[in-house]
């Protein structure tokens, strides 16, 4: 489990307008590129001082490549990060609050306690 890396992907993409569009249009390509080029970037360090050990599990990679927010919730990705990024990508295709409500409805089978989000 690398919940931290799932969160890092969501955080990294969400704060960059170009990456939000790139992930919306080409999810699998964006995930592949990001894991190869960005996953090991320490965000407060220079490029030469990257980490060496971060990679997704197959399940995590597939959840991101499939833009599967239900799977991300099950894996313990931080729900605020998932929600914020997915609203940015998909709210535009729906009426007011329609996307947010459908997002919640797709998670209706989860009961308390929800999957642990501690990293």
């Amino acid at each position: 489990m690398s919940k931290y890396l799932l969160d890092k992907f969501l955080y990294y993409v969400d704060r960059d307008p170009d990456l939000v569009e790139r992930y919306r249009e080409d999810p699998r390509g964006t995930v592949t590129w990001w894991e190869a080029e960005c996953a090991n970037t320490v965000l407060n360090c220079h490029a030469g001082e990257a980490s060496t050990w971060l990679r997704f599990t197959a399940e995590e990679r597939e959840a991101l490549a499939g833009q599967d927010h239900v799977a991300l919730f099950a894996l313990g990705a931080h729900p605020f990060l998932t929600l914020t990024l997915f609203i940015a990508m998909f709210e535009r295709d729906h009426g007011p609050l329609e996307y947010q409500k459908a997002f919640g409805a797709r998670l209706a089978h989860f009961e308390l306690p929800y999957p642990d989000i501690a990293t």
Partner: protein
């Protein structure tokens, strides 16, 4: 010494700015009532005639990230730029620039450390909607210098609820020991029951109206004893997965003091989450 002229706690609904400035068909039906309540709430700060604002909030994964996550952080900078691209994108919030009160920041850091709170600090902090929302609601001129204080209610492991209360008590004492003649208002924002990114989000009310009713009662009456008896890190999952933000309300109850009844109490039942507004005047309303 400095005087704490007002203690203010509220929710920080990021859609207020958009709702209150919308016109015509874009204006939601609840906007006028919301503006009316905010206008009354704003007056509670205005009449306290503050010179400085201590602002308690929580970064929502904007500048603070999981590779280096402080539990409690005090800003110490001459200026604070505010709001982030994703808050402009989702909430329509404007970019802002606030002045800092560095002397008070330094005093809070020194005294806080000496009191046993290992406070982190930041000399370059961009603040987010947990602090700009109350600026927009309470002091839209954004003309007063601030000291931002961030708490971690977002990225577990979190401090215990009692630690928030203890920090609130300490902030009150520390501000009142600041060698200054300035009038200080301490303003903090948190959440009532709230779900973000889970199955109970964006309902017709907050996810747990019963929790909200109890929470408003605890805050309005300063009932820290009952609040601390019922609220744990574990119990806060039940009212909604983002309800740990309630601990910032508990911090503000610590600032106001146990058993202190709020002088102004108001709430507004909205979709998604309930809004609530509280003001205390520690030395009387006209002090």
């Amino acid at each position: 010494m400095a005087t704490v002229v007002a203690v203010i706690a509220s929710t920080h609904h990021p859609f207020y700015y958009k709702a209150s400035t919308a016109t015509g068909e874009d204006r939601p039906p609840f906007a006028d009532e919301w503006v009316s309540k905010i206008t009354a709430f704003r007056e509670t700060l205005t009449r306290a005639r503050p010179d400085v604002l201590v602002m308690v909030g929580s970064d929502h994964f904007h500048q603070l990230w999981l590779d280096n996550m402080p539990q409690f952080l005090v800003g110490k900078a001459p200026f604070y730029d505010a709001n982030f691209y994703n808050e402009e994108r989702e909430f329509g919030l404007p970019r802002m620039l606030l002045k800092g009160q560095e002397d008070l920041s330094a005093h809070i850091l020194r005294a806080g450390l000496d009191e046993g709170f290992d406070l982190a600090f930041s000399n370059e902090l961009r603040i987010d909607h947990s602090i700009t929302c109350p600026i927009i609601t309470l002091r839209p001129e954004a003309d007063l210098p601030i000291v931002p204080i961030y708490t971690n209610i977002f990225a577990p492991p979190l401090p215990q609820p009692k630690r928030f209360v203890q920090l609130g008590r300490a902030i009150r004492e520390i501000v009142e020991s600041w060698p200054s003649h300035l009038r200080v208002a301490v303003i903090g924002t948190g959440h009532l029951s709230l779900e973000l990114g889970g199955p109970r989000q964006f309902g017709p009310h907050g996810p747990d109206p019963e929790f909200d009713r109890k929470a408003v009662e605890w805050i309005a009456t300063g009932d820290l004893e009952r609040c601390l008896a019922e609220v744990t890190l574990e119990s806060l999952h039940s009212p909604g997965n983002a309800t740990h933000g309630f601990m910032d309300f508990m911090l503000m109850m610590g600032v106001a003091g146990a058993g202190q009844k709020a002088d102004h109490v108001d709430s507004l039942d909205l979709f998604h989450t309930m809004e609530a507004y509280f003001t205390w005047y520690p030395n009387g309303v006209d002090a």
